[in-house]
């Protein structure tokens, strides 16, 4: 069987057929039991779209996927990091082994149970900064940042996810920075018309914001039911 040639999406991310892989920053270790493979001296770790919404949106996007991922060495803000599955893949790419890219991923998580795993992960992966606290509160985040960030992903399951995303990206996102909002319809308050109208409501709110442009609205229900990812870009002159 002839294997398809991997397509390089970015420095540490490539796509092979329908699977995504990131360049493992901690060789020989899987974070959540995912597959690993060697390619000469580089080890790749499979990035499963069923477990990671960012991976799902990279597979589903109609834009150039490399636009949606942060550059190696950039500063990222990850809200709702949970136990760090997705964060570890972003870390593979943004920081690299031993953080030789000098990147930073500030990962905010409110649950102490999840933070247990995340803080353990941060010891193996320099550049990953665990923050225990409410991701909707800028005060919790700001002490950890020296500068505005290049990339934000928000994945928290509470009502008013869109409003808090707009607030946080208004404060912390750099001009031209990219923001991803994972919207879980089931977490929003009940409104007439079900999930679709909740997504429409979110889209309306984003479009009302003058500092952000909505680049794409990605349906990832194939991998994660009732979820959508909104990709926004902050305008240059803010």
């Amino acid at each position: 069987m002839s294997r398809r040639k991997p397509i390089q999406l970015a420095w540490g991310v490539h796509k092979e057929g329908r699977t995504l892989w990131t360049r493992n920053a901690v060789k020989g270790v899987s974070v959540r039991g995912e597959r690993r493979k060697k390619d000469s001296r580089i080890e790749w770790r499979q990035w499963e779209p069923q477990k990671s919404k960012v991976a799902a949106c990279l597979l589903k996007t109609k834009l150039d996927p490399s636009e949606l991922i942060p550059q190696p060495g950039s500063t990222c803000l990850y809200l709702g990091a949970s136990s760090g599955t997705t964060v570890s893949h972003i870390h593979d790419h943004v920081c690299g082994s031993g953080n030789h890219h000098n990147g930073q991923i500030v990962s905010v998580e409110i649950s102490p149970r999840m933070m247990r795993d995340l803080s353990k992960l941060s010891e193996l992966r320099p550049g990953l900064i665990p923050v225990l606290g409410d991701a909707r509160n800028p005060m919790v985040i700001s002490p950890y940042l020296r500068d505005k960030v290049d990339w934000i992903h928000q994945d928290i399951s509470v009502a008013d996810q869109t409003q808090s995303f707009l607030k946080i990206s208004g404060i912390f996102l750099k001009p031209e920075g990219i923001g991803l909002l994972s919207l879980k319809a089931a977490s929003e308050r009940w409104i007439e018309g079900g999930d679709d109208s909740r997504f429409k409501e979110a889209e309306k709110l984003i479009n009302l914001n003058k500092n952000l442009t909505l680049l794409e609205n990605i349906d990832i229900s194939h991998f994660e039911s009732q979820h959508r990812i909104f990709v926004v870009k902050k305008l240059d002159m803010v």
Partner: protein
């Protein structure tokens, strides 16, 4: 103008402030600066004795909105300056962290996160959640094991009255050496077919677990009672400590229960009925916990909603008293509430007429 200010500084400040009026203190954990509207640095203070241990405390202070020592001293020097806690983020002149600072910062952030994890055991809401959930699980396993124990014994002792003797059966089976001994204890005939030795051992150990579970439930409920009486004095006095604790756990914490409208409290635990209501069914009258109060469950069907609504309102007040340190409900107030609930019931002796 503060009297203690050195006069020289006042003169300078006055000039600055009158000219620009936009003097700000911006800071992060290692540096604080006073800048004017043109981003010119007027004054700055570095934290020069950085240790990872102190940095952990500093980050935590900043998160809860406190200033660093440096920022505070600058604010004292320039009382007119406004504090801009997010200002350092958008300042292009703000210096990079040195390698050493970065290393300490990374280390401190992990330590602070771990400290937070360790401190989560100080949260009474979490402890109560564990206790109440454990108690629920104990109860549900007790019911299953107990039912099996009764049926199992009854299979062999065919003329044992399973309803009358139900409460005694697990204890006696657990203490006996053989099924015949159990028969003797209850004064009924011996089984026609004897269980094998191993079979008897299984019956016996099943009964022992039922007895053990019952003891565990008693201990855990006593623990919940003590905790709830201390943590939720008014709500416990109104509804009983166990129900009070269960309500708090269902709401996801005392604060959340206290901030909840009483209408939501009224239907806490009626999840299925609530989602049916969203699809058009009539609204639920009460949740599981409120129903366990005799004033609700012993009332006729047509007043349950009214009594539940009244009690939910009072429970909501009680939990607010507990959470926001109010004055505990007195015994007289509690009995007045119960009397009022009773009088609601008496006002509607007959079911409403169908339209």
């Amino acid at each position: 103008m503060p009297v203690l200010m050195p006069s020289l500084l006042i003169v300078r400040l006055k000039h600055e402030v009158d000219a620009e009026r936009f003097v700000r203190v911006i800071y992060d954990w290692r540096l604080a600066r006073v800048i004017d509207a043109d981003d010119q640095i007027i004054d700055e203070l570095y934290w020069n004795r950085i240790s990872t241990k102190n940095l952990v405390d500093r980050l935590s202070d900043l998160q809860s909105g406190r200033l660093t020592t440096e920022a505070r001293s600058l604010k004292e020097r320039f009382p007119e300056a406004t504090i801009d806690s997010l200002g350092a983020l958008s300042d292009s002149e703000w210096p990079e962290l040195s390698d050493e600072e970065m290393q300490k910062f990374i280390e401190a952030s992990t330590r602070l996160a771990k400290r937070g994890v360790a401190e989560s055991s100080g949260d009474i809401d979490r402890r109560m959640d564990m206790l109440v959930s454990a108690n629920n699980e104990l109860r549900s396993s007790w019911t299953t094991l107990e039912a099996r124990c009764i049926e199992w014994t009854g299979l062999f002792l065919f003329d044992l009255d399973l309803d009358e003797q139900r409460k005694k059966i697990p204890e006696i089976v657990s203490k006996s050496k053989s099924i015949n001994e159990v028969a003797k204890e209850f004064n009924v005939s011996e089984p026609t077919y004897q269980p094998s030795k191993d079979e008897w051992n299984s019956i016996n150990s099943q009964a022992q677990s039922v007895v053990n579970l019952a003891n565990q439930i008693t201990t855990s409920e006593e623990t919940i009672r003590v905790l709830a009486n201390d943590y939720l004095p008014s709500l416990s006095a109104l509804m009983g400590p166990i129900s009070a604790a269960k309500l708090v756990v269902l709401a996801g914490g005392r604060e959340r229960l206290a901030r909840m409208p009483s209408g939501s409290l009224q239907v806490l635990g009626a999840n299925a009925a609530m989602s049916a209501h969203r699809k058009g069914a009539p609204p639920p009258k009460h949740g599981a916990i409120l129903f366990s109060m005799p004033a609700v469950s012993r009332s006729p069907r047509w007043v349950r909603g009214k009594v539940a609504r009244y009690l939910a309102g009072k429970a909501s007040i009680a939990v607010r008293i507990d959470h926001f340190n109010g004055q505990k409900l007195t015994k007289e107030q509690i009995s007045e509430i119960h009397k009022e609930a009773e009088s609601i019931k008496n006002k509607f002796p007959k079911p409403p007429k169908r339209k």
